[in-house]
Amino acid sequence: MSRLRWLSSLLLRRSPDADFVKDDLEELYTRDCANGMSRWRADWRYARRLARSAFSIWFAGGLWTVGTEWLREFRIDEALRDIRFGARLLVRQPSSTLIAITGLGAAIGVVVSVFTVVDRTMLRPFGMDDPSSVVSVGSVRHHGWPYWPYATFLRMKDEAALARLEASLLETVRVGTAAAGEGEIRRRVLFVSGGYVSMLGGRPSHGRPLAPSDDVSGATPVVMISHQLWTTMLNGDPAAIGRTIWLNGSPVTLVAIMRPEFTGPVEASLMPAVWAPLAALDEIRGGKALDRDSRTTVEVVARLNSEASLSAAEANLSAILNRVQAPRPASDPSHGVRLDSLASPVAGRKALESYTAIAAIFGIVGLVLALACANIANLLLASATTRLSEIGTRLALGASTGRLVGQMVNESLLLTSVAGGLGVVFSVWLVPVLRIVLDFPAEVVLRPDGRAMVFATCVAVACGLGASLAPARLGASGNVLAALRAQSAAAGAAIPSRRRVAYVGFQAAVSVFLLVAAALLVRSALHVATLDLGFDVDRLLGVSIDRGTPDGYARAALDLVRRVPSVERAALIERAPFSFVEEPDEFSYAGISYRLNVHRSDAGFFETAGLRIVRGRAFTDDEVAREAAVILVSEAVARTFFPNGDPIGRTLADLPPGTGFREPGTIIGVVGEAMLVPLRSQGSGAIYRPIHARLNNPPVLMVRAANREATIRAVEDALRRMDPARRPTISVVRDGLDDYRGNARMLASLAAPAALLALLLATLGVYGVTTFVVSQRTAEVSVRMALGASIGDVARLLVRDSLRPVMIGLVVGLAAALIVSRLASASIGGVSPHDPLAIGASIAALMVASLMAIVMPVRRAARTDPAALLRAG
């Protein structure tokens, strides 16, 4: 016997004469051996005849036969039959099918939309060439923060041996197509060093990229603009290359349109619309022109040389830094350069945080998807339950369990494929809505693309397989008698299957979890939106002075600004309100942790900001000039630590000692509560001290004015006249608050619809299962009523049985929500993670929806004529 006989079984099985062919091959082999042929040669001859036989069998009938044979071979014809059969069955229950498909389609639409946003903003590698070799150049001392003085960047760039360095600086400017400033729009501009764009692979779709020759002092200012800006502002005109556009009123020449795939290593929310050379910074933004001694801060990126390793490049740049800055011992752990990958938005030091956020986002939308899949599973389970006799008969006639399982899976895939198509259509509408809610700049191109389609397909297939698990088990059990007995039992008084009950409980648990999360976020957003800030934010402007400005500039600017007619008041403060840089004083007292925010300002700050001094007085100019040890405290501090007496005259020594050094201070006044820091940093109160006479960083000039726009222009003009070489940045303080409120609003805007969708899906699930179960129990209902049970008794019985899984799911989901909200309490500013109103409203919403879904079918069942039911058998 040939050693290859086993192979013949595999290759010849498609032939109806496979056994005869195998026998003839074996006989020929035997003859060859009998004629003296060696076993190896005989096997070789056997293999050749086998291959030719298989070829003849597979390709005997031409392409049509091949096609149909292939279909039969891979059971695709069976799948098509299952799909046709499944479609006919589901058409018999159109409303349930439509509801289940629509629910899953909506959920898939949400998932695909979220994927589109996450993919575009977090997973795409910025459109750069060879992104794996692009890194950010950061400081070890500042935890990898990649910002350096321009002079330091130039030294590192000139002396780096293992990497090529380039720099950038992001600003917001007014962009217009006319010198007069009509139709100007505010957009971000990225000022870049000469080789930045070409190093990263930013090839334009039209024109030429910025070159090193554009980044020299005296060069004609030229810019590249984004594809989006080109289409909106210049109507996508290819002849726009060479035109003049205006940035902050300064003319520049347009030399290129950037292709839309390239964004450079910039966060999606900060994507620039314009790229300009750093040499044009003074002309466009104002201030002093950059030179080799400039201290202006720039962001530094690098591309590693092909042979260089990350560690070697770090060592090289650290050695350069050691020469540039004051030498430090090699053992100093805070010294040196740290390189982090910029291969994608989630690479490098942000990887853990980014992937955690992605996992959380998809976890939430995944829960909603699971809810919708549970509805599909319930629908299929109900359909399979009514076909138990069919299953039993087919098993008795010899159908394999694999065939039955395959049929269940194919039917499930049919439903989820239709839902997937619906979801893709839905996502085309939803993605632009997400863009508005998430407030991405227009440069971020968000639309479902090929990757989203592939993702949608995978999701639909996964849902189809997942939803088919329970009904497939019916077919996989293979027990004929059990199937037939179960059908006859189903014809009588059926008890809901544990699987269907589990699905309902799962849906209830997920719904209440998402409802609690959404309710907390909505409460937080409302709290932030209506919060009394305690100061007059609407009238305040902040004037930020660039680092490197000579000492005395700030005070001279203050005196000048106070003389501007539209300015009501002006003052200096070390850090602007809602700044992310804070000075906390932390300590523990009686087992409670306290955090006091320290603010340093001049005497005029309290009136300028509209802070209420409820007791005592503010600093005097003399006390500020002397940096006297006098302080004001907030009402919360006075209430907590001086509850029984007047805090005026007391000192900070009366407070519990802090974790760090606390400067001494005598309390001279009490200030009303004010939210000068982000809500999450509010802490337990505030301390106000005189501003330092000498500061490491320039202070912020706070300006109070009724007419903000007019005052901005007037202050800009005044400061430019005082020192034409400098142009401080003027911002509206309310914008910082709106950014913070925007985050809370954004989270609430995303969570609320997801929770409502989850509630709707769960309600549909409860309704569907209850309707089915009630229909299965009509005989039981009729018997009970015939035996004297009232409509109320029957209704109470059915409602109680249907509500039980909902209650179980509610308890489980609520427990999970309480745990998670406690862990994520930092994201829920201003609201307790166990807010009773939010939790109560969530429970009430689920109970009301579930009761409505249960009562409707129960009422129908309770109103039927028991005699008619019994006669109908």
């Binding site: 032939s15 109806p16 005869f20 062919v21 020929l28 005849r49 036989s53 003849s56 005997a60």
Partner: protein, 118 residues
Amino acid sequence: MLGRGSATTDYLGEFEQLVLFAVLRLEDASGITIHDEIEARTGRDVSPGAIYTTLGRLEDRGLVTSEVLPAEPGRVGRPRKRYTLRPRGARALRQAYAGLQALADGSLGKLAQIAKGS
């Protein structure tokens, strides 16, 4: 020789003609005997798969019939399939052979010259 107006439409390929002639010649035409006959008469080592596939096609067209015979000594407990030519198959084979003869009539001498290379 077939005249004009013949009603038959069963066209046969070259290999099908070989297989049918082998079935015609053999008293007991099965896969292995047909293989041996073709190999002996033509020198071609055809695969059993090709033979059975062709016979299956011919049977579907109604040109041959088959019957499965019980095992015989020598095949160690294995049955075999015997094929018989049907009248329709005979007509189709006759037509195909007649057509070949008609084309070849008078050309064999020229064929021999070409084969010699002169």
